[in-house]
């Protein structure tokens, strides 16, 4: 291509246009690859972190919200939430034989039973962390409940809810440092139960919690113990 004045001005002009248009496009692209942050949610109390934190042995990802009944909620959109059971819950129950999840279209209410986990022919209810309409159910987890144990915060999610009152619902949930303090209190209570059972070298002494904690501690009454922790026994909070 010849280097006459018009050609040079045309190419230089194109370079400038490209450089100038890159800047606003970059801003738009930056927003595109930055998912809605939990920090921008009106009720978030702690800045979210990419890093997962551990409250003792049990995983508590910092970006999730936790219900005292050991269900978690992840905000996926302005009114969309994914729900699952937390690491403590799956360790407490141990092997899961069957999951009973609400059907798509069903209404769930925060703090009311919404699902049940079945193990050794006994079912234990769990509470919904949010209110709304179920829009999706993890059929893979229903078909293979072991998924929940392998990945309670990932592939083991349970159902998705369209929650019009999400902001109000999130105010009743815990995340960040509050969730960690709550899990510390729960594990302290669990340690107390270990001590009473005189099991020898256990979690409270620096041992590692076993899978199926409730069965190890309460034997045939394990489901009653699980209900106490999941707040579905109608009695005191655990």
């Amino acid at each position: 291509m010849g280097h006459d004045l018009i050609t040079i001005y045309w190419l230089k002009g194109l370079e400038y246009v490209l450089a100038v248009s890159y800047l606003p496009l970059f801003v738009l692209f930056w927003k595109f690859v930055t998912p809605t942050r939990l920090a921008e949610a009106p009720v978030t109390v702690a800045a979210p972190s990419w890093a997962d934190d551990l409250a003792g042995y049990f995983q508590l990802p910092a970006r999730l919200f936790f219900h005292p009944g050991h269900a978690w909620a992840r905000v996926d959109g302005p009114d969309m939430v994914t729900v699952g059971m937390n690491d403590f819950a799956q360790h407490l129950v141990g092997r899961i034989d069957r999951l009973q999840l609400p059907r798509v279209g069903a209404e769930v209410v925060q703090g009311m039973p919404a699902l049940a986990v079945e193990s050794a022919h006994r079912a234990v209810d769990m509470l919904s962390p949010v209110s709304g309409t179920v829009v999706d159910v993890n059929t893979a987890a229903v078909g293979d409940p072991a998924t929940v144990k392998q990945s309670p915060y990932g592939e083991g999610w349970l159902f998705r809810v369209k929650s019009p009152q999400l902001a109000a619902n999130l105010k009743s949930l815990m995340n960040g440092v509050f969730a960690r303090r709550w899990m510390d209190a729960v594990t302290d209570q669990l340690a107390g139960e270990f001590s009473r059972e005189e099991l020898g070298h256990v979690y409270a002494d620096g041992g590692t919690p076993v899978d199926g904690l409730a069965r190890s501690l309460a034997h045939d009454e394990w489901d009653a113990m699980a209900r106490r922790y999941f707040l579905t026994d109608g009695g005191s909070n655990a």
Partner: protein
């Protein structure tokens, strides 16, 4: 030797069994090697190693299709150019964690540094296969500098950076050997080494691109640009990030027993964070490539077979993965991010091959096609690299903390 073993008699056999044979008797260890994967490795190495020896005994002309007109083949394009770019994860991740304070990426730094170290080590081996006469390697290092040559800068940079990577990875080796004092000293060097590594990588990643500035007549005008050094550096960052995604995904599948059981959840989060960074870098790289195209002003060549291939590279291997990474991040889909990362790694290799082989000497009457022995020797070098990675990960604390050094990395 640790303090606790000082009062005991050193049992060399037990030490060998523990450190080298994964705690198994020699017979059991050898039997454990009889796997389908190792059979495939043997299939490559049994003819490959004699081919390497043959090349050094009879010279490059005996095994390759390289000529005076086409002096660069796949050993340069794949083993060196692509190898250096894909080994960039070491400096990218180490800088992110130790300089920019993104501590949450700590769990992937050590595998990234190991990948970088082995990547560079086998780049040097691949380059030696191309250059020949390995006993001459110290010449530019010791008494005949040749400071006017870009290759001098690249050679020195790569040699120094290889040493930096070895030192950066040394804490893992010291933990494996139980050398606590040496490990403490190595850990103290981390920040200094990271800064040095960032400087050296910036220099030689771009210098590899600068090599092409000396031969504008040999490179196709669509690929040639005054920005090539910048293209090389920016694309190396994308290559490093995506290579860490691919390597960590494969490691978590291949080394299940070596991975912290709680790290799978964390890996998805880290993968999406790396994918976001890769999306942004690729987006910037795409615009730089457009700027290079406009600067060259050869739009007429776009409507030719080389032009279609150029557009496929720019749109298919740069813009598309950038957008798809964005989709993966928005949907929190780590699986999609991993597939896109694999595609991007392929794209970086294609770009380096385009510059050094495919669009190189594009208008010369004589075209280069690699010989079977060139491909075999290249496959042999890459296979030995992968085997070395496996050997180290199976023994040293790379994918999880050593119980004796909690929170070590």
């Amino acid at each position: 030797m640790t303090d606790t073993t000082l009062d005991r008699r050193f049992d060399a056999r037990a030490w060998m069994t523990d450190k080298f044979f994964l705690g198994m008797p020699l017979g059991a260890y050898l039997r454990s090697l009889l796997t389908p994967g190792n059979a495939l490795v043997a299939l490559i190495l049994v003819p490959g190693i004699p081919a390497v020896i043959y090349r050094f005994v009879y010279g490059i002309g005996a095994v390759s299709n390289l000529t005076q007109a086409n002096p660069w083949g796949i050993w340069i394009g794949l083993d060196v150019m692509s190898g250096v770019a894909l080994a960039a994860g070491g400096f990218t991740l180490a800088s992110a964690v130790y300089i920019f304070g993104l501590k949450e990426y700590h769990p992937v730094v050590r595998p990234a540094v190991l990948t970088g170290f082995l990547g560079y080590l086998f780049v040097v081996i691949g380059l030696t296969a191309d250059l020949g006469r390995p006993w001459k390697l110290p010449v530019p290092m010791v008494y005949s500098y040749g400071t006017g040559s870009v290759m001098f800068e690249v050679g020195w940079c790569v040699a120094l950076y290889l040493m930096v990577l070895a030192l950066e990875f040394s804490p893992a080796a010291f933990e494996w050997l139980g050398l606590k004092k040496a490990r403490e000293w190595a850990i103290r060097l981390t920040l200094g080494l990271t800064i040095l590594g960032l400087c050296l990588s910036t220099l030689h990643q771009s210098s590899l691109g600068a090599l092409f500035l000396m031969m504008p007549h040999r490179v196709h005008p669509l690929w040639y640009s005054g920005f090539v050094p910048v293209f090389f550096f920016v694309s190396a960052i994308a290559a490093g990030l995506t290579m860490v995604i691919v390597e960590s995904a494969l490691s978590h599948r291949a080394f299940v027993s070596r991975v912290d059981p709680h790290s799978h959840e964390k890996l998805d989060t880290l993968t999406l964070g790396l994918a976001r960074a890769a999306a942004i870098v690729l987006f910037a790289y795409f615009f730089l490539k457009l700027q290079g195209l406009v600067d060259g002003g050869r739009f007429d060549l776009l409507n030719t077979p080389y032009g279609y291939w150029f557009l496929f590279e720019v749109l298919g291997f740069i813009l598309a993965p950038s957008l798809l990474f964005g989709v993966a991040v928005r949907r929190s889909n780590a699986t999609l991010a991993r597939w896109v990362a694999g595609w991007t790694v392929l794209g970086i290799v294609v770009n380096r091959l385009n510059l050094s082989v495919i669009a190189f000497n594009w208008n010369a009457p004589e075209r280069y096609v690699p010989s079977f022995l060139e491909i075999l020797i290249s496959a042999t070098i890459i296979t030995i690299g992968v085997m070395t990675f496996r050997w180290i990960v199976n023994r040293m604390p790379v994918l999880r903390d050593d119980p004796a050094y909690p929170q070590a990395h």
